[in-house]
């Protein structure tokens, strides 16, 4: 059984932190994973994505085949749609509401959300606002991870341990803020969608 997750965003939005959390948690859980990422020029404010595959056995491809992602987790709504061909018909779209405006031809926002809402399984949340409420505006990525955690085949314990490991060097206060952001995202999702239907 393989779970395929595409992380989508713009260079600098914290995709690699989410990816590293999932990798570390998968290791802690005794699972296998492959996780591809983008380095180089695109990291300069360009579109970036990471393919994360978690399984209980060996995984072949580093890339998720089109039509086989269980979830796209987007830091940014248009970037979430960029990878739509990868999503299974019943796959989940989970995205932050906030557009990242560094291009002149950014599309009409309403049209973006219309497409997202047309999918049977979606969750749109203002992760930046929730992150701000818990006191760390930079932790929007952890809010999103928390919201998505219901669909990730890893124990919550392992995810929390991974967050602690990854932020260890930044001290207890930053760890606590990130854990709060994770928890807030998780709660928000519980209150707004019913994952058991998927």
């Amino acid at each position: 059984m393989t779970t395929n997750i595409i992380l989508a965003g713009v260079g600098g939005q914290g995709i690699l932190t989410i990816a590293a959390t999932l990798d570390t948690a998968a290791l802690n859980n005794g699972m296998f994973f492959k996780q591809s990422e983008v380095h180089g020029m695109s990291q300069r404010g360009g579109a970036v994505q990471s393919h994360v595959r978690i399984a209980d056995g060996a995984i072949y491809s580093d890339l998720i085949p089109k039509g086989q992602a269980d979830m796209i987790l987007g830091m940014e709504p248009m970037e979430t749609l960029r990878y739509l061909p990868y999503l299974k018909k019943e796959g989940w779209l989970i995205t932050d509401t906030k557009p990242y405006l560094n291009i002149d031809n950014y599309p009409n926002e309403k049209k973006i959300f219309d497409i997202i809402e047309s999918r049977s399984n979606h969750l749109i949340l203002d992760a930046t606002k929730i992150a701000k409420q818990v006191g760390n505006i930079r932790a929007a990525n952890l809010v999103l991870l928390g919201a998505a955690s219901h669909l990730i085949p890893l124990k919550e314990r392992a995810l929390i341990a991974a967050i602690k490991t990854l932020f260890k060097a930044k001290g207890d206060r930053i760890i606590a803020l990130n854990l709060d952001a994770f928890e807030a995202g998780k709660q928000y999702a519980l209150e707004h969608v019913d994952f058991s239907l998927s």
């Binding site: 290791l27 248009m78 739509l84």
Partner: protein, 537 residues
């Protein structure tokens, strides 16, 4: 114990555990993280090895050969186009052979994610007549480089380890094994083979040709090549490197066809012969150029049993993926090919506050006088100057070509002829071009963007740090026509005047816009400022 590592890092740890005494490299996506990992380890664990950036790939490879000559294991690391720069050394060390194990790690970039071409390094290893290891996953990258050092010493030849972007930049779990000790200093028994005068080179080349049989047999017996016999004889499949994963992704429960996985070359003739004799058709899957397919296909395609990229069953260019392979296998798939139409492109941009932006603004104002076709660009973040919204540079070919192309254009009668190059690119491959300009008194204006780091690959140490002025003057640039300017918007008008004035000079002018890369940590910027201040005193 399983460790989380990038493909690049698996190679790095594998090389350390193979007992290398040194890594020599020039940064280039997607190979950079290999050397970064070893530099970091050396610093954190006080390892007794050489780990530092070289000025270019040729100096790197030659230094690695020197270390090998002295009996120790050495690794040279570069991206695919870097191997072109190192090619002279690469070809000739195959003739001389090596002493301590020497592995050249080259990361190819099919689909050109971060490169100007997608050349396949397997052709260059084939040209040099040396073995290739092409790992298909992170564990094989770790095990593969250790194996590469072994066969390098067995055949007394350099070995190419070929990576591609998708493996270099993908993380997974890797088990490390017991490390080897470093080798002791030990000269080659026969130093004549390192003296490539014709009389000594000729027998060495004959020897290299003769060795091919043994190298092929070594690949036929290699644990990195695997033939699994299938039940369906209508097709046999050859899959090399990452293509093997894309194949098996489509056959999770096992593949009905016979499959030959190739991760070590020369091509294993024995196994390929079996496939030919026992399959109606042969599908070749490889990430890169159709290297294997070309070797196996019938030239006239009159009796072509072999299909792949050349026959049109797969895309001729660009990387493979599981969907492309599924299509070639005739497996039905259900997905939308394209993202929704409204999704706009989001290309990379220069960072806010980047000094290159200020230089672009100055040049864009100046070029209103003469048009869009006379600023010759180079490789680095400022290559973005070719794109919207900047449209500053008119050409971009290879490392160092800005200066030499501007030179040729000037000599054809183009005036003004302007070159724009970065500090690290200048020391990598621009200095020799500058010397040509000075010797020929070419009327040219060379702009050396000095951000005091290798910016595009993530801020590695620049070989040019605090040396550009000295190099230019030492080579013979008239100090009157060497100007250091500050690329900041508040000096815009002043900088326009300075450059305009130099455009009128009928000789070599060098302008150095100098400001540290905005992405460097502030302590690093302070350190650079101090070094530069001490130099100007």
């Amino acid at each position: 114990m399983r460790n989380i590592v990038l493909g690049d890092e698996a190679v790095a740890q594998g090389a350390l555990d193979a007992g290398i005494s040194g890594v020599y490299a020039y940064p280039g996506t997607p190979s950079t993280e290999i050397t970064e990992y070893i530099i970091r380890k050396k610093k954190n664990e006080s390892l007794n090895i050489h780990a530092a950036w070289s000025t270019n790939e040729k100096t790197a490879l030659e230094a690695a050969l020197g270390m090998s000559y002295a009996g120790k294991r050495a690794m040279a690391v570069m991206k695919h186009v870097g191997l072109n720069v190192a090619m002279d050394a690469f070809m000739n060390m195959a003739i001389s052979g090596i002493n301590g194990g020497l592995v050249v790690v080259v990361a190819d970039d099919p689909s050109m994610h971060s490169s100007q071409n997608e050349q396949d390094s397997r052709y260059l290893a084939d040209f040099a007549k040396i073995p290739i290891i092409e790992p298909s996953n992170q564990q094989e990258a770790y095990d593969g480089i250790r194996h590469a050092f072994k066969i390098s010493e067995k055949h007394k030849l350099p070995v190419l380890l070929r990576l591609v972007t998708r493996l270099a930049h993908s993380r997974s779990l890797v088990t490390f094994h017991k490390p080897n000790k470093q080798k002791k200093l030990k000269f080659p028994k026969d130093i004549k083979r390192f003296q490539l005068v014709p009389a000594r080179a000729k027998p060495q080349f004959d020897l290299l040709v003769k060795k091919q049989t043994v190298i092929r047999e070594c690949a036929e017996d290699s644990p990195f090549n695997k033939l699994v016999i299938g039940t369906d004889k209508s097709m046999g499949i050859i899959a090399s490197g990452l293509a093997y994963n894309y194949l098996m992704e489509n056959f999770q429960e096992g593949c009905p066809y016979s499959v030959l996985k190739i991760s070590q070359y020369l091509l294993p003739r024995k196994q390929i012969k079996y496939l030919f004799d026992n399959s109606d058709r042969i599908l070749v899957l490889e990430d890169g150029y159709p290297f294997i397919e070309e070797k196996l296909a019938d030239f006239f395609r009159e009796d072509s049993k072999v299909i792949g990229r050349l026959s049109g069953h797969l895309n001729r260019t660009g990387e493979l993926n599981p969907n492309i392979v599924a299509k070639a296998l005739g497996i039905e798939q259900d997905f939308d090919e394209e993202a929704p139409k409204l999704v706009a492109g989001r290309p990379p941009k220069l960072c806010d506050g980047c000094g290159h932006l200020d230089t672009f603004n100055v040049l864009n104002e100046i070029k209103k006088d003469f048009g869009d076709k006379q600023i010759f660009g180079d490789i680095g973040c400022y290559a973005l100057g070719a794109l919207s919204p900047y449209h500053t540079i008119s050409t971009l070919i290879d490392m160092g070509a800005s200066i030499t192309m501007a030179k040729g254009a000037a000599e054809a009668g183009v005036h003004p002829s302007i070159a724009m190059i970065g500090d690290s690119t200048f020391t990598h491959s621009g200095m020799t071009g500058l010397l040509d300009c000075i010797n020929d008194k070419t009327p040219i204006t060379i702009i050396i963007n000095d951000n005091s780091t290798v910016g595009m690959t993530g801020g590695q140490e620049s070989a040019a740090l605090a040396k550009i002025k000295g190099i230019c003057i030492g080579m013979g640039v008239d100090p009157e026509h060497l100007k250091v300017i500050k690329p900041l918007s508040k000096y815009h008008d002043e900088n326009v005047v300075t450059i305009r004035k130099e455009l009128n000079y009928k000789g070599v002018s060098v302008i150095i816009p100098q400001r540290a890369c905005v992405r460097l940590p502030s302590e690093k910027k302070k350190e650079i400022r101090k070094i530069l201040e001490a130099q100007s005193e």
